[in-house]
Protein backbone atom coordinates (compact mmCIF):
# COMPACT_ATOMS: atom_id res chain seq x y z
CA UNK A 1 0.00 0.00 0.00
CA UNK A 2 1.58 3.24 -1.00
CA UNK A 3 0.65 6.35 0.89
CA UNK A 4 -0.68 9.04 -1.29
CA UNK A 5 -1.05 12.16 0.78
CA UNK A 6 -2.06 14.79 -1.64
CA UNK A 7 -1.69 18.49 -1.28
CA UNK A 8 -5.01 20.22 -1.47
CA UNK A 9 -3.92 22.90 -3.91
CA UNK A 10 -1.77 21.10 -6.40
CA UNK A 11 -3.22 17.66 -6.39
CA UNK A 12 0.31 16.34 -6.43
CA UNK A 13 1.68 14.15 -3.70
CA UNK A 14 2.85 16.36 -0.83
CA UNK A 15 6.57 16.56 -0.69
CA UNK A 16 7.81 15.33 2.60
CA UNK A 17 11.37 15.88 3.64
CA UNK A 18 13.17 12.80 4.88
CA UNK A 19 13.43 14.17 8.43
CA UNK A 20 9.70 14.65 8.70
CA UNK A 21 8.79 11.27 7.32
CA UNK A 22 8.16 9.77 10.74
CA UNK A 23 5.58 12.41 11.46
CA UNK A 24 3.23 11.26 8.70
CA UNK A 25 3.50 7.59 9.55
CA UNK A 26 0.18 7.63 11.34
CA UNK A 27 -1.78 8.69 8.31
CA UNK A 28 0.07 6.47 5.91
CA UNK A 29 -2.31 4.21 4.16
CA UNK A 30 -5.18 6.66 4.15
CA UNK A 31 -6.48 7.95 0.90
CA UNK A 32 -7.77 11.25 2.16
CA UNK A 33 -10.31 12.18 4.84
CA UNK A 34 -13.10 9.97 3.49
CA UNK A 35 -10.77 7.01 3.69
CA UNK A 36 -9.89 7.90 7.25
CA UNK A 37 -13.56 8.29 8.13
CA UNK A 38 -14.32 4.94 6.59
CA UNK A 39 -11.58 3.29 8.63
CA UNK A 40 -12.91 4.87 11.80
CA UNK A 41 -16.45 3.86 10.91
CA UNK A 42 -15.24 0.32 10.40
CA UNK A 43 -14.07 0.32 13.98
CA UNK A 44 -17.67 0.89 15.09
CA UNK A 45 -18.34 -2.50 13.56
CA UNK A 46 -21.87 -1.70 12.55
CA UNK A 47 -23.64 -1.38 9.28
CA UNK A 48 -22.64 1.86 7.70
CA UNK A 49 -26.33 2.66 7.21
CA UNK A 50 -26.83 2.57 10.94
CA UNK A 51 -23.62 4.28 11.89
CA UNK A 52 -23.62 7.10 14.40
CA UNK A 53 -22.33 10.06 12.48
CA UNK A 54 -22.07 11.96 15.71
CA UNK A 55 -19.74 9.39 17.21
CA UNK A 56 -17.80 9.22 13.94
CA UNK A 57 -17.35 12.98 13.90
CA UNK A 58 -16.03 12.85 17.45
CA UNK A 59 -13.53 10.14 16.57
CA UNK A 60 -12.33 12.05 13.54
CA UNK A 61 -11.92 15.27 15.48
CA UNK A 62 -10.02 13.44 18.22
CA UNK A 63 -7.73 11.94 15.62
CA UNK A 64 -7.04 15.32 14.07
CA UNK A 65 -6.51 16.88 17.48
CA UNK A 66 -3.99 14.19 18.37
CA UNK A 67 -2.23 14.70 15.08
CA UNK A 68 -2.00 18.43 15.64
CA UNK A 69 -0.56 17.93 19.12
CA UNK A 70 2.39 16.07 17.68
CA UNK A 71 2.55 18.61 14.82
CA UNK A 72 1.68 15.97 12.30
CA UNK A 73 1.69 17.40 8.84
CA UNK A 74 -1.83 16.98 7.54
CA UNK A 75 -3.04 17.72 4.09
CA UNK A 76 -5.59 20.51 3.97
CA UNK A 77 -8.29 18.02 2.94
CA UNK A 78 -8.21 16.54 6.42
CA UNK A 79 -8.58 19.93 8.06
CA UNK A 80 -11.44 20.93 5.81
CA UNK A 81 -13.21 17.73 6.70
CA UNK A 82 -12.54 18.36 10.39
CA UNK A 83 -14.08 21.82 10.15
CA UNK A 84 -17.08 20.48 8.30
CA UNK A 85 -17.57 17.67 10.84
CA UNK A 86 -17.29 20.13 13.74
CA UNK A 87 -20.01 22.16 12.09
CA UNK A 88 -22.15 19.08 11.45
CA UNK A 89 -21.68 17.98 15.06
CA UNK A 90 -22.89 21.32 16.39
CA UNK A 91 -25.89 21.19 14.05
CA UNK A 92 -26.72 17.65 15.19
CA UNK A 93 -26.53 18.61 18.86
CA UNK A 94 -28.54 21.81 18.60
CA UNK A 95 -32.28 21.79 18.02
CA UNK A 96 -33.16 22.19 14.36
CA UNK A 97 -34.31 25.71 13.49
CA UNK A 98 -37.82 25.65 12.06
CA UNK A 99 -38.39 26.08 8.30
CA UNK A 100 -34.75 25.75 7.45
CA UNK A 101 -33.99 26.36 3.81
CA UNK A 102 -30.72 24.51 3.81
CA UNK A 103 -30.52 20.76 4.24
CA UNK A 104 -31.24 19.56 7.74
CA UNK A 105 -28.44 18.18 9.87
CA UNK A 106 -29.96 14.71 9.55
CA UNK A 107 -29.89 14.96 5.76
CA UNK A 108 -26.26 16.06 5.86
CA UNK A 109 -25.41 13.13 8.12
CA UNK A 110 -27.22 10.71 5.83
CA UNK A 111 -25.40 12.13 2.82
CA UNK A 112 -22.06 11.57 4.55
CA UNK A 113 -23.03 8.03 5.48
CA UNK A 114 -24.00 7.39 1.87
CA UNK A 115 -20.70 8.72 0.61
CA UNK A 116 -18.92 6.34 2.94
CA UNK A 117 -21.10 3.46 1.81
CA UNK A 118 -20.41 4.29 -1.80
CA UNK A 119 -16.67 4.46 -1.25
CA UNK A 120 -16.75 1.17 0.57
CA UNK A 121 -18.82 -0.41 -2.18
CA UNK A 122 -16.48 0.70 -4.91
CA UNK A 123 -13.53 -0.56 -2.87
CA UNK A 124 -15.12 -3.92 -2.54
CA UNK A 125 -15.79 -3.94 -6.26
CA UNK A 126 -12.16 -3.00 -6.86
CA UNK A 127 -11.00 -5.87 -4.71
CA UNK A 128 -13.27 -8.32 -6.46
CA UNK A 129 -11.98 -7.02 -9.74
CA UNK A 130 -8.36 -7.40 -8.72
CA UNK A 131 -9.02 -10.84 -7.34
CA UNK A 132 -10.38 -12.08 -10.60
CA UNK A 133 -8.04 -14.36 -12.47
CA UNK A 134 -5.89 -11.93 -14.37
CA UNK A 135 -4.19 -12.39 -17.69
CA UNK A 136 -0.49 -13.18 -17.38
CA UNK A 137 -0.87 -13.41 -13.60
CA UNK A 138 -3.31 -16.26 -13.15
CA UNK A 139 -4.37 -17.25 -16.60
CA UNK A 140 -2.29 -17.41 -19.69
CA UNK A 141 -2.77 -17.32 -23.41
CA UNK A 142 -1.04 -19.75 -25.74
CA UNK A 143 2.62 -19.35 -24.98
CA UNK A 144 3.83 -20.31 -28.39
CA UNK A 145 1.26 -19.26 -30.93
CA UNK A 146 1.84 -20.69 -34.35
CA UNK A 147 2.86 -18.37 -37.08
CA UNK A 148 0.36 -17.76 -39.78
CA UNK A 149 2.45 -18.14 -42.87
CA UNK A 150 1.85 -15.64 -45.58
CA UNK A 151 1.78 -16.98 -49.08
CA UNK A 152 2.38 -14.30 -51.61
CA UNK A 153 0.49 -15.03 -54.74
CA UNK A 154 1.49 -12.95 -57.68
CA UNK A 155 -1.38 -11.74 -59.77
CA UNK A 156 -0.26 -10.86 -63.22
CA UNK A 157 -1.67 -7.97 -65.08
CA UNK A 158 -2.09 -7.98 -68.82
CA UNK A 159 -4.97 -7.04 -71.05
CA UNK A 160 -6.09 -8.43 -74.36
CA UNK A 161 -5.12 -5.13 -75.93
CA UNK A 162 -1.55 -5.53 -74.62
CA UNK A 163 -1.48 -8.99 -76.09
CA UNK A 164 -2.82 -8.10 -79.53
CA UNK A 165 -0.63 -5.00 -79.78
CA UNK A 166 2.42 -7.02 -78.88
CA UNK A 167 1.56 -9.61 -81.49
CA UNK A 168 0.78 -7.15 -84.29
CA UNK A 169 3.84 -5.02 -83.62
CA UNK A 170 6.23 -7.97 -83.65
CA UNK A 171 4.80 -9.55 -86.74
CA UNK A 172 4.76 -6.46 -88.89
CA UNK A 173 8.08 -5.22 -87.58
CA UNK A 174 9.67 -8.28 -89.07
CA UNK A 175 7.76 -8.08 -92.33
CA UNK A 176 7.78 -4.35 -92.98
CA UNK A 177 11.42 -3.91 -92.08
CA UNK A 178 12.57 -5.91 -95.14
CA UNK A 179 10.08 -4.23 -97.52
CA UNK A 180 11.29 -0.78 -96.59
CA UNK A 181 14.91 -1.65 -97.23
CA UNK A 182 14.11 -2.94 -100.71
CA UNK A 183 12.22 0.18 -101.66
CA UNK A 184 14.87 2.49 -100.47
CA UNK A 185 17.80 0.88 -102.20
CA UNK A 186 16.30 -0.40 -105.39
CA UNK A 187 15.40 2.51 -107.58
CA UNK A 188 16.39 0.39 -110.49
CA UNK A 189 17.58 1.62 -113.83
CA UNK A 190 14.40 0.30 -115.35
CA UNK A 191 12.35 2.25 -112.86
CA UNK A 192 14.42 5.38 -113.50
CA UNK A 193 14.14 4.95 -117.19
CA UNK A 194 10.41 4.47 -117.07
CA UNK A 195 10.12 7.63 -115.02
CA UNK A 196 12.29 9.63 -117.39
CA UNK A 197 10.36 8.35 -120.37
CA UNK A 198 7.22 9.60 -118.74
CA UNK A 199 8.96 12.92 -118.13
CA UNK A 200 10.32 13.48 -121.61
CA UNK A 201 6.90 12.81 -122.98
CA UNK A 202 5.86 16.18 -121.69
CA UNK A 203 9.20 18.05 -121.92
CA UNK A 204 9.25 19.48 -125.44
CA UNK A 205 11.42 22.38 -124.25
CA UNK A 206 14.59 22.32 -122.25
CA UNK A 207 13.79 21.48 -118.70
CA UNK A 208 15.87 21.19 -115.60
CA UNK A 209 16.36 17.58 -114.75
CA UNK A 210 17.19 18.35 -111.13
CA UNK A 211 13.90 20.13 -110.58
CA UNK A 212 11.98 17.27 -112.09
CA UNK A 213 13.76 14.79 -109.95
CA UNK A 214 13.33 16.81 -106.82
CA UNK A 215 9.62 16.99 -107.47
CA UNK A 216 9.58 13.31 -108.09
CA UNK A 217 11.56 12.21 -105.07
CA UNK A 218 9.35 12.25 -102.03
CA UNK A 219 11.79 10.99 -99.47
CA UNK A 220 15.03 12.97 -99.08
CA UNK A 221 16.86 9.81 -98.15
CA UNK A 222 16.20 8.43 -101.62
CA UNK A 223 17.69 11.48 -103.31
CA UNK A 224 21.09 9.96 -103.99
CA UNK A 225 19.84 6.72 -105.45
CA UNK A 226 17.27 8.50 -107.60
CA UNK A 227 19.88 10.88 -108.99
CA UNK A 228 22.29 8.12 -109.74
CA UNK A 229 19.77 5.87 -111.43
CA UNK A 230 18.21 8.76 -113.33
CA UNK A 231 21.53 10.00 -114.64
CA UNK A 232 22.45 6.54 -115.83
CA UNK A 233 19.05 6.11 -117.42
CA UNK A 234 19.30 9.56 -119.01
CA UNK A 235 22.65 8.75 -120.60
CA UNK A 236 21.15 5.56 -121.97
CA UNK A 237 18.19 7.45 -123.43
CA UNK A 238 20.51 9.99 -125.03
CA UNK A 239 22.55 7.17 -126.54
CA UNK A 240 19.37 5.72 -127.97
CA UNK A 241 18.49 9.12 -129.37
CA UNK A 242 15.39 9.52 -127.30
CA UNK A 243 16.45 12.69 -125.48
CA UNK A 244 19.05 15.42 -125.31
CA UNK A 245 21.05 16.53 -122.29
CA UNK A 246 22.71 19.85 -121.69
CA UNK A 247 24.99 21.15 -118.94
CA UNK A 248 26.80 24.50 -119.02
CA UNK A 249 29.67 23.54 -116.73
CA UNK A 250 30.63 20.98 -114.12
CA UNK A 251 28.07 20.67 -111.30
CA UNK A 252 25.70 23.01 -113.11
CA UNK A 253 22.08 21.95 -113.45
CA UNK A 254 21.37 19.34 -116.11
CA UNK A 255 18.84 20.25 -118.75
CA UNK A 256 17.04 17.76 -120.92
CA UNK A 257 14.39 17.75 -123.58
CA UNK A 258 12.74 15.30 -125.85
CA UNK A 259 14.77 14.93 -128.96
CA UNK A 260 13.01 16.79 -131.76
CA UNK A 261 11.73 14.51 -134.45
CA UNK A 262 13.48 16.57 -137.21
CA UNK A 263 16.90 15.11 -136.40
CA UNK A 264 19.64 16.91 -134.52
CA UNK A 265 18.49 20.46 -134.02
CA UNK A 266 21.61 21.35 -132.14
CA UNK A 267 21.51 24.97 -133.21
CA UNK A 268 18.81 25.76 -130.79
CA UNK A 269 20.72 24.36 -127.94
CA UNK A 270 22.07 26.90 -125.40
CA UNK A 271 25.42 25.18 -125.46
CA UNK A 272 26.93 22.42 -127.45
CA UNK A 273 26.61 18.89 -126.19
Amino acid sequence: MTAEILSFETGKPAEVADGELSLVVDVEGFEGPLDLLLALARQQKVDLAKISILALADQYLQFIEAARKIRLELAADYLVMAAWLAFLKSRLLLPEPPAAERPSAEEMATALANRLRRLEAIREAANRLMNRPQLLRDIFPRGNPEEIAEIRRPKFNATLFDLLTAYAVQRQQRVLRSVHLARRTVWSLAEARASLERLIGIAEEWSCLDEYLLNYVVEPSQKATVFASSFAAALELVREGEMELNQSEAFAPLYFRKRPAQAAGAANAPTAE
Partner: protein
Protein backbone atom coordinates in the same frame (compact mmCIF):
# COMPACT_ATOMS: atom_id res chain seq x y z
CA UNK B 1 -4.30 -21.55 -58.43
CA UNK B 2 -6.17 -22.99 -55.52
CA UNK B 3 -5.45 -26.47 -56.65
CA UNK B 4 -1.83 -26.00 -55.68
CA UNK B 5 -2.83 -25.59 -52.08
CA UNK B 6 -5.23 -28.49 -52.41
CA UNK B 7 -2.54 -30.68 -53.71
CA UNK B 8 -0.32 -29.78 -50.79
CA UNK B 9 -3.02 -30.66 -48.35
CA UNK B 10 -3.62 -33.94 -50.07
CA UNK B 11 0.03 -34.79 -49.75
CA UNK B 12 -0.01 -33.97 -46.06
CA UNK B 13 -3.07 -36.04 -45.53
CA UNK B 14 -1.55 -38.97 -47.26
CA UNK B 15 1.50 -38.78 -45.05
CA UNK B 16 -0.61 -38.45 -41.98
CA UNK B 17 -2.86 -41.28 -42.85
CA UNK B 18 0.14 -43.47 -43.26
CA UNK B 19 1.60 -42.51 -39.91
CA UNK B 20 -1.18 -41.58 -37.55
CA UNK B 21 -3.39 -44.39 -36.38
CA UNK B 22 -6.28 -42.08 -35.54
CA UNK B 23 -9.06 -41.10 -37.84
CA UNK B 24 -9.54 -37.33 -37.69
CA UNK B 25 -13.12 -37.74 -38.86
CA UNK B 26 -13.93 -39.03 -35.40
CA UNK B 27 -14.49 -35.39 -34.43
CA UNK B 28 -16.64 -32.88 -36.32
CA UNK B 29 -14.46 -30.92 -38.71
CA UNK B 30 -15.79 -27.54 -37.61
CA UNK B 31 -14.72 -28.19 -34.01
CA UNK B 32 -11.28 -29.26 -35.17
CA UNK B 33 -10.93 -26.13 -37.30
CA UNK B 34 -12.03 -23.90 -34.44
CA UNK B 35 -9.59 -25.59 -32.10
CA UNK B 36 -6.75 -25.15 -34.53
CA UNK B 37 -7.52 -21.51 -35.29
CA UNK B 38 -8.04 -20.48 -31.69
CA UNK B 39 -4.99 -22.37 -30.45
CA UNK B 40 -2.75 -20.82 -33.04
CA UNK B 41 -3.98 -17.25 -32.88
CA UNK B 42 -2.07 -14.63 -30.94
CA UNK B 43 -5.17 -12.53 -30.38
CA UNK B 44 -8.76 -13.34 -29.46
CA UNK B 45 -10.79 -13.87 -32.63
CA UNK B 46 -14.32 -12.72 -33.25
CA UNK B 47 -17.00 -14.94 -34.64
CA UNK B 48 -17.01 -13.45 -38.11
CA UNK B 49 -13.25 -13.89 -38.49
CA UNK B 50 -13.63 -17.51 -37.51
CA UNK B 51 -16.59 -17.98 -39.81
CA UNK B 52 -14.49 -16.91 -42.81
CA UNK B 53 -12.22 -19.90 -42.34
CA UNK B 54 -15.02 -22.39 -41.74
CA UNK B 55 -16.75 -24.59 -44.27
CA UNK B 56 -19.97 -23.13 -45.58
CA UNK B 57 -23.14 -23.89 -43.74
CA UNK B 58 -21.56 -24.38 -40.32
CA UNK B 59 -23.33 -22.80 -37.36
CA UNK B 60 -20.24 -21.13 -35.92
CA UNK B 61 -21.99 -19.91 -32.80
CA UNK B 62 -23.26 -23.35 -31.94
CA UNK B 63 -19.85 -24.86 -32.65
CA UNK B 64 -18.17 -22.32 -30.38
CA UNK B 65 -20.58 -23.07 -27.59
CA UNK B 66 -20.01 -26.78 -28.05
CA UNK B 67 -16.27 -26.23 -27.93
CA UNK B 68 -16.61 -24.06 -24.82
CA UNK B 69 -18.51 -26.86 -23.11
CA UNK B 70 -15.90 -29.41 -24.24
CA UNK B 71 -13.12 -27.43 -22.62
CA UNK B 72 -14.97 -26.26 -19.51
CA UNK B 73 -13.49 -28.94 -17.30
CA UNK B 74 -10.05 -28.89 -18.89
CA UNK B 75 -6.83 -27.17 -17.93
CA UNK B 76 -7.40 -24.85 -20.86
CA UNK B 77 -10.75 -23.10 -21.24
CA UNK B 78 -12.37 -21.39 -24.15
CA UNK B 79 -13.34 -17.94 -22.92
CA UNK B 80 -15.13 -15.03 -24.46
CA UNK B 81 -13.57 -11.64 -23.91
CA UNK B 82 -14.95 -8.45 -25.34
CA UNK B 83 -17.06 -10.52 -27.72
CA UNK B 84 -14.03 -12.39 -29.00
CA UNK B 85 -12.99 -15.96 -28.37
CA UNK B 86 -9.72 -17.25 -27.06
CA UNK B 87 -8.23 -20.16 -25.16
CA UNK B 88 -6.82 -19.40 -21.72
CA UNK B 89 -5.45 -21.57 -18.97
CA UNK B 90 -8.03 -22.40 -16.32
CA UNK B 91 -8.24 -19.83 -13.53
CA UNK B 92 -8.02 -22.38 -10.73
CA UNK B 93 -4.61 -23.47 -11.97
CA UNK B 94 -3.05 -20.06 -11.43
CA UNK B 95 -0.94 -21.49 -8.61
CA UNK B 96 0.72 -23.65 -11.21
CA UNK B 97 1.36 -20.96 -13.72
CA UNK B 98 3.56 -18.48 -11.86
CA UNK B 99 6.38 -17.69 -14.15
CA UNK B 100 9.37 -15.81 -12.91
CA UNK B 101 9.55 -14.00 -16.22
CA UNK B 102 6.13 -12.51 -15.84
CA UNK B 103 6.12 -9.12 -14.25
CA UNK B 104 2.68 -8.45 -12.93
CA UNK B 105 1.82 -4.84 -12.86
CA UNK B 106 1.51 -3.76 -9.26
CA UNK B 107 -0.93 -0.93 -9.12
CA UNK B 108 -1.11 1.44 -6.18
CA UNK B 109 -4.23 1.32 -4.04
CA UNK B 110 -5.21 4.69 -5.46
CA UNK B 111 -4.82 3.42 -9.02
CA UNK B 112 -6.89 0.33 -8.29
CA UNK B 113 -9.67 2.47 -6.84
CA UNK B 114 -9.63 4.87 -9.74
CA UNK B 115 -9.68 1.95 -12.17
CA UNK B 116 -12.69 0.45 -10.41
CA UNK B 117 -14.52 3.77 -10.40
CA UNK B 118 -13.86 4.22 -14.10
CA UNK B 119 -15.01 0.65 -14.80
CA UNK B 120 -18.23 0.87 -12.80
CA UNK B 121 -19.12 4.49 -13.47
CA UNK B 122 -17.95 4.98 -17.03
CA UNK B 123 -18.10 7.35 -18.73
CA UNK B 124 -16.78 9.36 -15.82
CA UNK B 125 -14.77 12.55 -15.38
CA UNK B 126 -11.85 13.12 -13.08
CA UNK B 127 -13.98 15.42 -10.88
CA UNK B 128 -16.57 12.67 -10.48
CA UNK B 129 -13.86 10.19 -9.55
CA UNK B 130 -12.59 12.62 -6.95
CA UNK B 131 -16.04 13.16 -5.52
CA UNK B 132 -16.39 9.46 -4.88
CA UNK B 133 -12.95 9.09 -3.38
CA UNK B 134 -13.05 12.39 -1.48
CA UNK B 135 -9.50 13.11 -2.53
CA UNK B 136 -7.68 14.67 -5.43
CA UNK B 137 -6.43 12.21 -8.04
CA UNK B 138 -2.80 12.70 -8.83
CA UNK B 139 -1.76 13.02 -12.44
CA UNK B 140 0.58 10.09 -11.94
CA UNK B 141 -2.26 7.76 -11.00
CA UNK B 142 -4.14 8.43 -14.21
CA UNK B 143 -0.93 8.21 -16.24
CA UNK B 144 -0.17 4.78 -14.84
CA UNK B 145 -3.65 3.61 -15.72
CA UNK B 146 -3.47 5.07 -19.21
CA UNK B 147 -0.18 3.29 -19.65
CA UNK B 148 -1.75 -0.06 -18.88
CA UNK B 149 -4.03 0.47 -21.84
CA UNK B 150 -6.99 -0.53 -19.70
CA UNK B 151 -8.58 2.91 -19.69
CA UNK B 152 -8.89 5.55 -22.34
CA UNK B 153 -10.21 9.07 -22.60
CA UNK B 154 -13.35 8.69 -24.66
CA UNK B 155 -14.74 12.21 -24.99
CA UNK B 156 -15.44 15.45 -23.24
CA UNK B 157 -18.39 16.12 -20.96
CA UNK B 158 -20.61 18.90 -22.22
CA UNK B 159 -20.17 20.93 -19.04
CA UNK B 160 -18.14 24.06 -18.29
CA UNK B 161 -14.47 23.30 -18.71
CA UNK B 162 -15.32 20.37 -21.02
CA UNK B 163 -13.58 17.77 -18.81
CA UNK B 164 -12.36 14.51 -20.33
CA UNK B 165 -14.53 11.47 -19.81
CA UNK B 166 -12.84 8.14 -19.20
CA UNK B 167 -13.88 4.60 -19.96
CA UNK B 168 -12.36 1.13 -20.13
CA UNK B 169 -10.92 -0.62 -23.17
CA UNK B 170 -11.02 -4.13 -24.61
CA UNK B 171 -7.65 -4.58 -23.00
CA UNK B 172 -9.35 -4.13 -19.63
CA UNK B 173 -11.87 -6.85 -20.40
CA UNK B 174 -9.11 -9.10 -21.61
CA UNK B 175 -6.93 -8.48 -18.56
CA UNK B 176 -9.69 -9.29 -16.09
CA UNK B 177 -11.25 -12.02 -18.18
CA UNK B 178 -14.60 -10.28 -18.50
CA UNK B 179 -16.85 -11.08 -21.40
CA UNK B 180 -18.62 -7.71 -21.48
CA UNK B 181 -18.68 -4.68 -19.22
CA UNK B 182 -22.08 -5.74 -17.89
CA UNK B 183 -20.37 -8.77 -16.36
CA UNK B 184 -18.27 -6.74 -13.94
CA UNK B 185 -18.12 -8.59 -10.62
CA UNK B 186 -20.73 -7.48 -8.10
CA UNK B 187 -22.31 -5.10 -10.55
CA UNK B 188 -25.84 -6.27 -9.84
CA UNK B 189 -25.41 -5.84 -6.10
CA UNK B 190 -23.95 -2.38 -6.60
CA UNK B 191 -26.83 -1.43 -8.81
CA UNK B 192 -29.22 -2.79 -6.20
CA UNK B 193 -27.87 -0.45 -3.55
CA UNK B 194 -28.27 2.52 -5.84
CA UNK B 195 -24.75 3.56 -4.93
CA UNK B 196 -23.68 3.68 -8.51
CA UNK B 197 -25.74 6.77 -8.98
CA UNK B 198 -23.36 9.62 -8.51
CA UNK B 199 -26.06 11.84 -6.99
CA UNK B 200 -26.87 11.37 -3.36
CA UNK B 201 -29.17 10.43 -1.78
CA UNK B 202 -29.91 7.38 -3.86
CA UNK B 203 -32.27 8.00 -6.68
CA UNK B 204 -34.42 5.81 -8.84
CA UNK B 205 -32.35 5.69 -11.96
CA UNK B 206 -29.31 3.54 -11.52
CA UNK B 207 -26.94 4.02 -14.44
CA UNK B 208 -25.17 1.02 -15.87
CA UNK B 209 -21.54 1.35 -16.80
CA UNK B 210 -21.08 1.30 -20.52
CA UNK B 211 -17.92 1.03 -22.57
CA UNK B 212 -19.88 1.46 -25.75
CA UNK B 213 -17.62 3.76 -27.73
CA UNK B 214 -20.65 5.66 -28.94
CA UNK B 215 -20.63 8.96 -27.11
CA UNK B 216 -23.51 9.73 -24.79
CA UNK B 217 -25.68 12.76 -25.15
CA UNK B 218 -23.66 14.72 -22.63
CA UNK B 219 -20.34 13.84 -24.28
CA UNK B 220 -18.47 15.63 -27.04
CA UNK B 221 -15.87 13.84 -29.16
CA UNK B 222 -12.21 14.34 -28.37
CA UNK B 223 -10.50 17.08 -30.33
CA UNK B 224 -8.51 16.04 -33.37
CA UNK B 225 -5.02 15.04 -32.40
CA UNK B 226 -5.86 14.70 -28.74
CA UNK B 227 -5.44 10.96 -28.86
CA UNK B 228 -1.98 11.25 -30.33
CA UNK B 229 -0.71 13.44 -27.52
CA UNK B 230 -0.01 12.51 -23.95
CA UNK B 231 -2.84 10.03 -23.94
CA UNK B 232 -1.52 7.94 -26.78
CA UNK B 233 -1.15 4.67 -24.87
CA UNK B 234 -4.81 4.66 -24.04
CA UNK B 235 -5.78 5.15 -27.63
CA UNK B 236 -4.00 2.03 -28.77
CA UNK B 237 -6.72 -0.50 -28.06
CA UNK B 238 -8.96 1.33 -30.48
CA UNK B 239 -6.57 1.85 -33.31
CA UNK B 240 -5.16 -1.59 -32.70
CA UNK B 241 -8.36 -3.26 -33.80
CA UNK B 242 -7.59 -2.80 -37.41
CA UNK B 243 -3.92 -3.52 -37.02
CA UNK B 244 -4.47 -6.70 -35.10
CA UNK B 245 -6.41 -8.34 -37.87
CA UNK B 246 -4.05 -7.49 -40.58
Amino acid sequence: MASLAERRVQEVEMVDEAEAPVNPQARPEELRILEALLFAATEPLDQSTLAKRMPDGVDVKAALEQLQADYACRGVNLVRVANKWTFRTAGDLSWLMTRETTETRRLSRAAIEVLAIIAYHQPVTRAEIEEIRGVVTSKGTLDVLLETGWIRPRGRRKTPGRPLTFGTTEGFLSQFNIEAIGDLPGLDELKGTGLLDSRLPTGFSVPSPSDDPTLREDEDPLDVGELELALAPAAEPETGEGGGES
